[in-house]
């Protein structure tokens, strides 16, 4: 049993018919085009968001362990209730940092302070993030300097008014970020000297940051002398879980079990990936609905076409077409229309994404 010659002929015949009904063809495949486009765009949106978040985490150093309030991302807790407490929970003190600093296998450790504030320089001003930490910050957060250097342990201890600017902040205030080197900036009417500028990270937390020694923040910027987190870096992967346990024990002397959590960034990543998995599924489902509607559109038009073309069907039957041949012809047209619409949707999506 052969069909109307072969698929090539069927598709050629389908195209001949499209040429005669350009408007109808365009409108029919438009449904599929929009359907495919929305599926692709929604998937791209979901994946892009997920990649962005993953990148932010990857830009932090390896084997990073974070001490955070609440039990937001811990594997036993989780869920929305604990998410809430993480914003309202405890804050850490310098004593906590110093206590953790006594643990042997931690290679880098910094307390983390963050607050938004207006940075003024060069008669310009910009709202950025005032962040306090110590000399280990570049190692823990993967910061590279494009000019100057990071503040030292001595700078931290002496509460020196030396700051490091993020790339975007320096660019906004000074034009060329490198020009910021050696200049002074004002925060809360206090004058600080810029001793370095970090390279672009693509993360507003870092690119718009003004980094200063944590002890320097203890004046007007951080009068309560508190930290929202403490970051620890452990070089040896094998020791991570042991060190985490030691950190927990240290903190348990002061806090209750569910008041804080000690998490690796990979745990946070897992939770986030789970959330994005669900979001993606929802987005694909929404996109599929428009694809389904497009498909129904083609079904409708083909149904109308069959009625419209009874004469042509009659002629083809008279010269020897079987019912199957006729069905294949209309099927070929629908499939070609769908594929055309789909390819067009993909092309538009490729241009947009």
């Amino acid at each position: 049993m052969s069909n109307y010659k072969n698929w090539k002929d069927l598709v050629k015949s389908a195209f001949a018919d499209f040429g005669r009904n350009k408007t109808r063809t365009a409108l029919t495949s438009l449904g599929i085009t929009i359907g495919v486009l929305s599926v692709v765009l929604l998937i791209a949106l979901g994946l892009g968001l997920k990649n962005y978040i993953n990148q932010q985490f990857e830009s932090l150093g390896a084997n990073l362990v974070m001490v955070m309030p609440g039990n937001a991302f811990s594997s036993e807790g989780g869920g929305m209730r604990s998410m809430g407490t993480s914003f309202m929970g405890i804050t850490f003190t310098e004593q906590d940092y110093l206590a953790l600093n006594r643990i042997g296998d931690i290679d880098y450790l910094t307390p983390m302070f963050i607050k938004s504030g207006v940075v003024e320089a060069n008669n310009k001003q910009k709202t950025g993030y005032i962040e306090g930490g110590n000399e280990d910050m570049p190692k823990l957060m993967g910061l590279e300097m494009i000019i100057g250097e990071f503040f030292t342990k001595a700078d931290v201890q002496s509460r020196s008014k030396k700051v490091v600017l993020g790339y975007t902040l320096a660019e906004t205030l000074f034009g060329d970020p490198k020009d910021a080197y050696g200049k002074s900036v004002n925060v809360d009417n206090q004058r600080y000297r810029v001793i370095g500028v970090t390279d672009k990270k693509g993360d507003p937390d870092m690119d718009d940051a003004l980094l200063m020694p944590y002890k320097t923040t203890f004046g007007t910027i951080n009068p309560d002398k508190t930290f929202y987190a403490i970051y620890a870096g452990i070089s040896s992967k094998d020791k991570v879980s042991q060190v985490k346990e030691e950190m927990k024990q240290t903190l348990l002397k002061k806090y209750k079990k569910d008041e804080f959590s000690v998490v690796e960034q990979t745990e946070i990543l897992d939770t986030i990936n789970q959330i994005f998995g669900v979001i993606n599924a929802v987005l694909v489902a929404i996109g599929s609905i428009s694809l389904l509607v497009g498909g129904i559109g083609i079904m409708n038009i083909m149904y109308a076409t069959v009625t419209e073309r009874t004469k042509e069907i009659g002629i083809r039957r008279a010269i020897g077409a079987t019912q199957k041949d006729i069905m294949m012809q209309f099927l070929a047209e629908s499939v070609t229309l769908s594929i055309l619409g789909g390819i067009l949707g993909l092309l538009i999506a490729a241009l947009l994404v």
Binding site: Y4, D9, D17, A318, I319, G320, T322, D325
Partner: protein, 226 residues
């Protein structure tokens, strides 16, 4: 005997009552015959033609084509016989407007299921040459005259070297001069190609051109045309 109809009925169900479009028709048509079926509109001559052309199946009775009972065949088998044994010519020409003259003529080859013993394109071009229409081969049907369209339709009917050609009012849409040309062409084909032609018409003058006339009235074969 090329074609034999035995007590053929075709009944359409209109509401509760069945209507006999064709009633108890028996007839024989010999090979190479040129015969006309004459009847007014509504006489059942179109239904009879569809039955002979295997586009419709009889409600009862038997149809034999080349001695073979074709009244109970499947759609695939009937389509195959239509494709390689029967050629149709219609009043409305019935060319497909989106295809060129040559593509229209070659269409039946596209539905042939076996291997052909000839090249359909060469045969199509030969037929066009014979009908003096070779230079029109790439024209679309709406760009050529009615007489030319009917010649293309005849070429399409002849492509698969059929035994039987069914012509339904082939001159009905043509002026008398062009109609005459088409009739002459059919006579010529009957003589030279040895193809059986059944001419279905309501026109007594046209029917006279054939050697034998079959009269049909209210679905019945009658002796005289009234």
């Amino acid at each position: 005997m090329l074609l034999k109809l035995q007590n053929v009925y075709k009944t359409y169900n209109l509401g509760e009552e069945g209507v006999h479009a064709v009633e108890d028709v028996s007839l024989d048509i010999k090979e190479k015959e040129f015969v006309s079926i004459l009847g007014t509109s509504g006489s059942g001559k179109s239904t009879l033609m569809y039955l002979i052309g295997l586009l419709e199946q009889p409600t009862s009775g038997k149809i034999f084509l080349e001695g073979k009972d074709v009244s109970k065949l499947s759609d695939n088998q009937l389509s195959l016989i239509r494709n390689n044994t029967v050629g149709f010519i219609f009043q409305q020409f019935n060319l497909i407007s989106k295809f060129t003259v040559l593509e229209n003529i070659m269409m039946p080859a596209g539905y042939s299921k076996g291997k052909l013993d000839f090249d359909p394109k060469i045969r199509a071009l030969e037929l066009l040459k014979r009908f003096k229409m070779l230079e029109r081969k790439d024209f679309f049907p709406n760009k050529i005259s009615g007489g030319q369209q009917q010649r293309v339709a005849i070429a399409r009917a002849l492509l698969m070297k059929p035994k039987l050609i069914l012509a339904d009012e082939p001159t009905g849409n043509l002026d008398s001069k062009t109609g005459e040309e088409i009739l002459k062409l059919l006579e010529e084909l009957n003589k030279e190609e040895k193809v059986t032609i059944i001419l279905v018409t309501h026109d007594r003058e046209i029917a006279k051109r054939t050697k034998r006339q079959i009269y049909i009235k209210d679905g019945l074969i009658v002796d005289k045309y009234i």
